[in-house]
Amino acid sequence: MTAIAARLTPPWWLRSNAGLIGVLVLIGAVSIVGATVSDRFLTLGNLLNVYEQTTDLALVSIGQTLTILSGGIDLSVGSLISLTSCLTSGLINGNPDRVLPVVAGVLALGTLVGMINAALVVALRVHPLIVTLGMGAILQGVTLLYALGPVGRVPRSFNVLAYGRIAGIPIGATVALTLCILIALLLRYLPLGRQIYALGDDANSARLVGLRRTRILMFVYGASGFCCAATGLYLAARFGVGQPYTGVNYTLASITPVVLGGTLLSGGRGGVIGTMFGAFLIALLNNLLNFMDVSKHYQLVAQAVIIILAVSIYVERRRME
């Protein structure tokens, strides 16, 4: 009986998020430590704050999950975030009437940049690592041509994206969560979603089966660009102003939640729900360290420890499979 069960693939939500258990255990562990540190840690108010602080990392990492699932990676995310956040505040420049067209334009631009990444990967037959690394440098240059320091400002109405709450629920984080659920459904129910996994699983087989790699990559990198633009909008809303280096740390940071959420770095296995939890775990950890009065610098160290620990656990689990 168990032998038969072992031959079956696990249910989709478990299979596409094999690492989900790992993140949840770590979230549980951090919560328990938090509860012993302060009785305010596990209150609804604090957890909603953590949820709110998940927004930016969740947004970038959702897009990054797609590129990694397809067997690639997007290293242009940091610069694209910087560029989009500068453009947002610079172009709106305090004028509420410009909010909608600029938001639409920035999202379109992000998507376009992502699709250019995909087009270069396909046309030049260069690994996405290199193409997006180069694209990142170009975008950072463009950003600095546009603004050498903080640029523009956004009207109060636009701040809602970062600070607004409806019935106590943060708006920005909920937008990220909604996007995450939409992409999770897409990965499961659209043929395209299935094909992203297949391409990451075995690119050569995918070619022999006749999958259209160009189309898949266009979507994947386009989506990543879209997510970066969304992050740029969010950061402009949060700081009220665009800064040319605001995105720098997101390039590598965006990979952490993906890996924590159980997505294989080599692609073909994982999913965005794990990533969402991964981003939440990092926000929760930073929150805990704040409670413990640990400086920002040690927070980076703690993140590093967590990610190396988590990955080694996954490797061990996979070995046992």
């Binding site: 031959r7 043929p191 299935r194 996994y197 297949a198 699983d201 995918a206 006749g210 296995r269």
Partner: protein, 496 residues
């Protein structure tokens, strides 16, 4: 329905096909026969749109076509089941079957229930019973093959190409496969069936085309041709010339390597073998029987889960490649590109790669010395190249293989393990490799040769050890072994 005219294709250092013609009619099973390296695989890759020919014309349904990707060929109705399947191990059976051709509901979303149901029905039609939810990684090779064929059926398949489908399955499974292929033919599908086994060609095919060394030898009706005629067409010479004579009793009594009930995961189970200096032992069996795993285990490249190794009188419970090399062992892996050679480096660098100490002086590599070593080996093994500085990527498969073997032969003092030493190698280089192997054995090495080619096993081995499903199922003296006796040990169904 498919006509090829004057197809040629070159690879660096090799002319894989030259001026080949082929015609496959509607609703026939057409055999493609040839030895390894005859160009069969290259030819079907061209038909499938996975490779472009350098010269020649292809027409399908009386229209000239030039497919630039497998996708285009597939849309026209050409479907290939490659020897190394194009499957996605992490996806389920149903998902694999409908990949790229998903079952959708009215909203255009993937209809999971219908995917599973249709997959079940399709497999029922093919006479297989597989759980559509099972992951492909958990299936037997024969079942994986059925998933590939089922996938072909979901497209409007007009021409089904199977690349050596019987290399990985046996006995009853072969009979089932043939039955299914005949059913497809009767439904009007053309089948191009690649094999180097004559019995299968006669049992299944209406006509057969023979390739040799990248050239067309001829096309025959199987009804009008004899077995002997086909052999002559395929080999073009007497098989006896290929293999060097076995030497008289160079073998020592004390084993140089002995294993005591070693297991490696569940891929190798309780294997006890002995290797003696001066002999060539063939390890025969089907693909996936655990032979390569055993080789990697002996060399320490994968950990042994239980049992012990005895090498040169010393006992080891664990082995590592560094220690194995220290003990004078060598391993020529199955896949020389990913595990054997640094393709971009030259012959000299590859030759000294695993033992740089020998050519290092004052902490730096002595290039002159390296070059002179390489030059000596090139001469000794008759490696065709432009000299020690030739990058190996530009050489033919046979010569690359000679570089790997020469390298290990130099370093090796006790046991040399060769995994499929003549795969992808042309006949001429094959004979050379066989000669080198025999020389090495005569000079006192114990040689373990893993091979899926029975002619090679029969022609070379002093002893034949047969594996099936991770276990040793028997041992035969090389002179007495026959194709039948080996196949029986390699495939016999578990005691009913």
């Amino acid at each position: 329905m498919l006509t090829l005219k004057g197809i040629s294709r070159n690879f660096p250092g090799v002319r894989a096909l030259s001026g080949v013609n082929l015609e496959v009619r509607r609703g026939e099973i057409h055999g493609l026969l040839g030895e390894n390296g005859a160009g069969k695989s290259t030819l079907i890759k061209i038909v499938a749109g996975a490779l472009a020919p350098d010269e020649g014309e292809i027409s399908f349904d009386d229209r000239p076509v030039s497919w630039s990707s497998p996708r285009e060929a597939k849309l026209a109705g050409v479907h290939v089941v490659y020897q190394e399947f194009a499957l996605f191990p992490q996806l389920s059976v149903a998902e694999n079957i409908y990949l790229g051709n998903e079952r959708r509901n009215a909203l255009g979303l993937v209809d999971l229930r219908r995917t599973r149901r249709d997959a079940s029905e399709l497999m029922k039609k093919l006479g297989v019973s597989l759980d559509p939810r099972a992951s492909v990684a958990s299936l037997s090779v024969a079942d994986q093959q059925m998933v590939e064929i089922a996938r072909a059926m979901t497209h409007n398949v007009r021409l089904l190409i199977l690349d050596e489908p019987t290399a990985v399955i046996a006995g009853r499974e072969v009979a089932l496969l043939f039955d299914r292929l005949r059913r497809l033919r009767n439904a009007g599908v053309s089948v191009l069936f690649i094999s180097h086994r004559l019995d299968e060609i006669f049992a299944l095919c209406d006509r057969v085309t023979i390739l040799k060394d990248g050239r067309l030898v001829g096309t025959q009706d199987t009804a009008d041709v004899t077995r002997e005629r086909l052999i002559t067409m395929m080999v073009g010479r007497d098989l006896g010339d290929l293999f060097p004579p076995r030497s008289a009793a160079t073998r020592t009594d004390q084993p140089v390597l002995r294993t005591d009930t070693i297991s490696i995961g569940d891929r190798v189970r309780d294997v006890s073998i002995e290797l003696h200096a001066g002999e060539i032992v063939a390890l025969a069996g089907m693909v996936g029987a655990g032979r390569s795993d055993l080789a990697l285990g002996l060399f320490g490249a994968v950990p042994i889960s239980s049992g012990t190794l005895h090498i040169a009188g010393k006992r080891f419970a664990a082995m590592s490649p560094a220690r194995a090399i220290g003990l004078g062992m060598g391993l020529v892996t199955e896949d020389r590109k990913s595990q054997g050679l640094a393709m971009l480096l030259d012959i000299a660098a590859n030759m000294t790669g695993p033992a740089l100490g020998e050519v290092t002086r004052h902490g730096m590599i002595d290039r002159e010395r390296e070059t002179s070593i390489a030059a000596r080996e090139i001469e000794r093994y008759r490696i065709a190249c432009r000299g020690p500085a030739t990058p190996v990527a530009t050489m033919s498969g046979g010569n690359q293989q000679k570089v790997v073997i020469a390298r290990w032969a130099r370093l090796c003092r006790s046991v040399l393990i060769l995994d499929e030493p003549t795969r992808g190698v042309d006949v001429g280089a094959k004979a050379e490799i066989y000669r080198i192997m025999r020389e090495l054995a005569d000079s006192g090495l114990a040689i373990l040769m893993i091979s899926s080619e029975l002619t090679e096993v029969l022609g070379m081995a002093d002893r034949v050890i047969v594996m099936r499903e991770g276990r040793i199922t028997g041992e035969l003296p090389g002179r007495e072994a026959t194709e039948e006796s080996i196949m029986h040990l390699a495939t016999s169904e578990r005691a009913a």
